[in-house]
Amino acid sequence: MLLLGLTLLLTAAAAADLPDTGAPPLLGPGLGFSPSVSASASAPPLLLLPQPRPEYGAPGVALARSAAEEPAVPAEEEEGPHHHHGGGYRVVQWEWSYVQTPYIIAIWLLVASVAKILFHFSQRFTTVVPESCMLILLGLVLGGVVLIANKKQLYQLEPALFFLFLLPTIVGDAGYFMPARLFFDNLGAILTYAVVGTLWNAFCTGFCLYAAKLLGVIDERVQADLMDFLLFGALISAVDPVAVLAVFEEVHVNDTLFIIVFGESLVNDAVTVVLYKVYISFVEVGVENVQTADYFKGVASFLIVSIGGTLVGLVFAVILGFITRFTKKVRIIEPLFVFLMVYLAYLTAELFSLSAILSMTFCGIGANKYVEANISQKSRTTVKYTMKTLASIAETIIFIFLGISAVDKSKWAWDTGLVSCTLVFIFVFRAAGVIGQTWVLNRFRLVPLDKIDQVVMSYGGLRGAVAFALVVLLDGEQVKAKDYFVATTIVVVFFTVMFQGLTIKPLVDWLKVPRSTSRKPTINEEIHERAFDHILTAVEDIAGLQGYHHWRDKWEQFDKNYLSKLLLRKSVYRKSELWEAYQKINIRDAISVIDQGGNVLTSARLSLPSMASRASFPEVTNVTNYLRENGSGVCLDLQVIDNVPGAKVEEDTETHHVLAENLYKPRRRYQSHYSRHFMPLGEKERQDREVFQRNMKSRMETFKSTRHKRHKKERSLKKRRGSDAKEDGSDKPRRNVSWQDKNPVVVPVESEEEKGEHSDPEKEEDVGITFVARKAETPKQRPKSVPAALDGSPLASPSSPPSGDSHLPWKGSVGSPPPCVSVEANKIIPVDLQQAWNQSISSLESISSPPVPAEPVHPRVSALSRLGGPRPASYTPPGSTAGSTSSIGAQVLQGPFCFPERNKKEEEEEEEEGGAVQEMQPLMSSLRPPGNPCVYLRSLVMAPSPGSGEPHSRGPTQL
């Protein structure tokens, strides 16, 4: 299967390459280029995008390439006039040079993405072979194809492209989603390995290679002296973040091990950059001219590069946090700010030749907490998915291009001695360095790193694209042995990524390295671990030690007192982390309960008592399906957010979209009927209205059973209005209108409670991006089956509650739980964790559960019952007594009862005002009658007012 995929890919690649070769004949005659030149002119468009750096004075291929670029630019300028000379109007024009650059980039991205798909076809295969290996192999094959087609390698991993675009996407993702606590807990070890370890590797490798040269193991042709070898040692010794990420993400070693290796690979950038630059300058001036002061300058330069880079990153983190404090009104560009500032941190550090990777990493780590708290739920998802997508594709491209770059004879200069010596040295010194440092570190570490850890760390020292890009950047004039170094680097990278990458998984299995668990912490763990932190701090204080916990506590105090005040929104600042964690856990549980135990639930508590409700969702057999139909896709979105970054993102995305496609099936059928009459509404509003409808339907049940006559009157009233409002004369739409008219009176009450209770309206304005891929729907669609069921339901009154009960506020809704569930489900979905859960939980606590006898239930079921059961209780303010509950309930009920008469007049007035307005705001008509000012006010709070509602609803559609 894979072979087939590869051949497919090859043909695709060949097709992509065809235009290159096809273009010259078309352009050739007019422009007067010789075909060979224009072939190379059109070929390296990837180079055109990032301007090559000044120091990229390249020999060999690179020179030819930059020479080829010169004609390429005028070529595009001459393009325009030339087409006019072509004579006459051409119906179809070949505009290759116009679209060339983006086209080829897009094709490459496509190839990379398709390659990813193909690799994941075979589950068994991907568990054995890491993706990075396959991508490099693919790159080799593609490179071979290009080479055969063009006689010359056109593509390679360009350092400028790599450092300016590909690397930042990966590092940005890594930094932003870095587990900060874990990182700082192990900061000592990370810094040691990154600084001491890298220096050790660099010097030892350099000196030993020089020794091997003196001993004659390395061939005479390799013209390199000590400085050259030290330079080579510096660039080859750094563990590569891209390779480490690619390999270790699939291996799933335990967190500590991962963070040490990965943290090292990020932080050692400062060392590599400095060593590289120092040696370059030494090579340039010549070793004999290097003065003692220069060595000290090198040390100073290291401090400046590393600390400066970190500071730049932190400054940008603060700016980013501060900016996102004020994006309440422009949620839509929140993710952009995150990307921009993180990227700017990288570029700024590059600008001052500081450590860009350090800068970006610390910007991400520093800003993450504040940004995540400030931006909306959807923005968080956007940031996460976009970052993961970009990082994933960048990684893919890096590996493919690494493979392609290897297939280039002009770059290669093979020397077996150099290659084998380098391979042996880097492995030996890595192992020696790790063991030595670990021995020292273990004297200070709480949890010492044992032998197995050390083996994995030694073996996990993968080299990658950074080394390759650096070696390509070398100046061939000054470093005579550049071609040998390039070849050696390629071999080293391939060996570490492919051989070690391939074998590290079996090794980890064999050594029984403790794996990471992608387990979510329970609430007990959340509580107790925080308590542990406090205990340890207290004990350190009591024992008079100023240890790690002491300083961490100091930092947290500082963060709480100053930083958070500066960088967090007021509404967010007040929140407690533990409470947030609690809510997340709760929601996760609710989702899983619903997802797995829907049936249990249905039978235990939420059986559908009224025929109408059952009939309204005919194809739904259990709550799971019901929720799937009604938007649990968005619920799962929340779950996705919870995930440990990097774990199974693709899989979740897939699930998400599968579910998303299944949403709102019954409603969609109705779209054509209604879409004309309504502006496409925002997600939240639409869902609110659906909640209204459903809730209203349940109310109608009890209503009809008690007050049949009045109901009929109302219906006739609606019928009249419906026929006025819509050209569609059928029954169903009218009834929808009637539900909607009444609903605002009922639901607003709870909404006001929500707001009063938590006073966090910010989060609700979570408009902007709708992730669920479905069309904007009109609010009033009902399944066809519903109205039919409704017609029958008055007769089916035995199933509806007795008339006396219907006056109790909770009976109405509890009698027909599905609407309750729907209310809750919809609540969770559009809003975010906070409100829905606050509400349902506080209602549970504040009321001694009037709706249902507090029977002992299984914890999971009772967790679910919070979802649905006690819903009506939320109508009461928290902490209010049962008395106030019933009074409010009565109030609520009065609304609908008195409603029709008032509404009738109201509507008559409105009809005079104009049908269009009425159609636009079907809710408003019922809001007008201020018979009960309280209810009126509440409905104002809840229902989207014409002024505030529409801009929000239009927001997404303008996109």
């Binding site: 329970t522 007990n524 542990f532 004990v539 204080d541 240890g547 929140k575 407690s576 533990l578």
Partner: protein, 194 residues
């Protein structure tokens, strides 16, 4: 070592303490200095008020609970030996130490660490963390940021989650089980300077 040994010899039972807790002589000496610093009345006993002299503890939201966990039930004071024994809970677990079963569980075993944390919750020492006790700690940790209802729902949830025998309280076994996935050795250890 000689000078420190001579000072260590001034401390009563120093050798037994070192034997028992695994602290080195330097540790004992250092802790003894600290103990005497805290012991304002020079009576060889620490009372809860003495701990209050530590400024940082005043900032610790659950400082009082932690302090009270230092005192064995019914006792008003803690002497130096008990002080050291309690601090020994927080020594990192030594992995290479041979585990001879005859010896009793060392103070820095993860069980003993957990026991200390459990005692911090269990203020009335009845062997169970009741809802009220959990709430008290939660309230202290969360402070004013969270409403009482929210606190209660968190406590409710936590108890529901950990409570295996449905007695509406968390026993030590349940406490241990609820944390069995956590690396206690790591999370409940501090590094004592040598």
């Amino acid at each position: 070592m000689g000078s420190s040994n001579s000072s260590v010899n001034n401390i009563p039972n120093a050798q037994e303490l070192m034997q028992e807790t695994g602290f080195s002589a330097a540790h004992i000496l250092r802790l003894h200095e600290r103990f005497e610093f805290l012991d304002k009345h020079k009576c060889g006993q620490l009372r809860p008020q003495d701990f209050g002299a530590v400024q940082e503890l005043a900032l610790n939201p659950i400082g009082d609970s932690i302090i009270s966990a230092f005192f064995s039930p019914g006792q008003e004071t803690v002497d130096f030996a008990s002080f050291v024994r309690i601090l020994a809970h927080f020594r990192p677990t030594d992995r290479n130490q041979s585990r001879d079963g005859a010896q009793q569980e060392p103070a820095n075993s993860s069980i003993r660490k957990l026991k200390f944390a459990f005692q911090m919750y269990d203020q009335d020492r009845d062997g169970k963390i009741s809802r009220a006790e959990l709430l008290q700690v939660l309230r202290a940790m969360l402070g004013i940021q969270v409403t009482e209802e929210q606190l209660q729902s968190i406590a409710e949830r936590a108890i529901q989650e950990a409570d295996l025998d449905r007695d509406d309280a968390i026993s030590f076994d349940e406490f241990r089980k609820s944390l069995e996935k956590v690396d206690i050795d790591h999370k409940m250890s501090i590094r004592f300077l040598r």
